[in-house]
Symmetry: C2
Subunit: 280 residues, 2 copies
Amino acid sequence: MNTNPIAVFDSGLGGLSVVRHLRRLLPNEAVVYFGDTARVPYGTKSRQTVVRFALEDARFLLQFEPKLIVVACNTASALALHELEQALPVPVLGVVEPGARAAARLAEGGAVVVLGTEATSASGSYPAALHALVPDLEVVSQACPLFVPLVEEGRGCDDPIVQLVADTYLTPLRERGVRVAVLGCTHYPLLRAAIERSLGPDVHIVDSGRETSLAIQQLLAKHAGLCRTGRPGSMRCYVSDNPDRFRQVGSRFLNEDVDQVELVAPERYATPLQLATDIC
Amino acid sequence: MNTNPIAVFDSGLGGLSVVRHLRRLLPNEAVVYFGDTARVPYGTKSRQTVVRFALEDARFLLQFEPKLIVVACNTASALALHELEQALPVPVLGVVEPGARAAARLAEGGAVVVLGTEATSASGSYPAALHALVPDLEVVSQACPLFVPLVEEGRGCDDPIVQLVADTYLTPLRERGVRVAVLGCTHYPLLRAAIERSLGPDVHIVDSGRETSLAIQQLLAKHAGLCRTGRPGSMRCYVSDNPDRFRQVGSRFLNEDVDQVELVAPERYATPLQLATDIC
C-alpha cells in the first residue's frame, strides 16, 4: 500500500475536471493539486514557455512526495511530457495517451477528431499518439479557442452563444465521417451536450480526463501503489493567483466544494533552477 | 527637445492599438514596447498579481531610459497605476484617466458605460476617475470577457458570433439612457462597429487608447519633451513569449507591419528585486 498523494497540476482550474473522475474512481487517494492561475492559459503560448511553466509546476509538487504526477492540462501534456519525464524522479502521466487509446479503440475505421487549444492542435501530439496505435487512422485536429473563455465566463450548454460557437467549429466536420471526438482540453467536458448536438448523434465522445483516471488506477494497481485505507482521501489545492475565483469557479469542474485552497507566492514555484537544487 | 523613447507596456499585443494612435500623432517619437505575452491575459487575475507583473514590465523598460512610461493595458492602469507611480523614476501615464476625461466631456447628463475586462470592471477605477470629474454622473460597468478571445481568434465585426456576444452584453444597456461608451480594453476598438450596432446610433464611443495618445502629446509638449527630429521614429518591440504570433496578430492592432520583435528571457523581467537593484 502507498499512502503518498497523487499530485496533479494544470494551467488553472480546468484540471479539477480530471480530479473529479479520480476522486470518484479512487476515493481513498490523497490528492494535491497545483493550478497555475497566475499564468493561465497555456493554450495560446509557445512550446518553450509551456515546458518551462510545466517544469516549475511539477517541481513545486515534489515537496509533497507524490507517488505519481498527473499532467491534467492537455496543452502541457501535448508539449512538455517528455521533458517532465526526463526531469522528475517520480512517474508522470499525461492526458493525451489515455485519451488517444480510448479514441483508437472506438474509431472502427471512422475518423477521429481531436478538439483542443491552439497549442495542443498545433503540437500534433494527439495525431502522433493515435497513429502510433493505428497507423492509417484518419485524424482531424480542430482548435476551439473560444470554448475555454466561454466556460470560464460560466456559460453552459443551454447558452445560444455556446451553441453558435460549437456549430461554427464543428458542423463542417459532419461531412468527414467522424466516428469519435476527443475532448482534448479540461474545459470541454462542461460543454459536452452542445458539442454532441453540433457533431450529431453518431459520434462517440472521449473525455481524456476520465480516461486518464482509469489509466491512473491501472498504473497504481500494477505497481501496488494504491491507497486502501478505507477512509476518504484528503484534497489540498495550491494556486499561483486568486484562490477565491478558484474556489468559486472550480466547484463546477470538481462537482463538489473546493475547500482547502492556498495561495503560493511566486518564489515558491517560479524559480526552477533553485527548486531543482533544493528539492529534487 | 528630448529624443529618449516613449516606453509602452501591455499584458500582450493589445497595447499596439494605443501605439497605433501614438505613431500617427507623434511620428518622430521613438517607441519601445514590452508585451508580457507569457503571462497574458491580466484581465482575469488578482490585483496583487497584476501589480507585480506591471512593476516587472515597467522595470524591464527602464533600461531604455524612457522619458515616459505608458501603461497601455487598461487592467494594469486600473489596478497598478499608483504603485507604478511610486516605484518608477520617470512619469507614468495610464489609459484610464484620459478615457474618463473624454467620456465626462461627452456625457452631457446622460449615463456612461465602461466596457472592460473582469478585473477592470471589478476595480472600480473608471467610475472613480469619472466621479472625480463629475460627482453625480451615472456610470455603469459592463465586463465583456469574451471580446478579447474573439479578437485574438481573428474574428471581426462581420462575424455572427461577435454580434451575438455584443448584443448579449450590450442591448440590455439600451434602456439605461447611455450617452457614452468607453472602450476600456485595448482589444475593443477592433470590435467597434459591432459594439456600435448593439448600443444603437446615439451613443458616443470613447477609445481610451486614442485619448491617451492625445494626453501623451500634451504632457510632452508642456514639459518640452517632444522629439522634433523630422525623421520617422524607430519602433522596437520586446515580448516574453511567442514573437511570431505577436508579429502576425499584432499588425492588425498596429495597422502596420510589426518588424523588430525580440524574445526576452524570464530572468530579464521576472525578478523584480534584482532588477530594482541593478537598474533603478
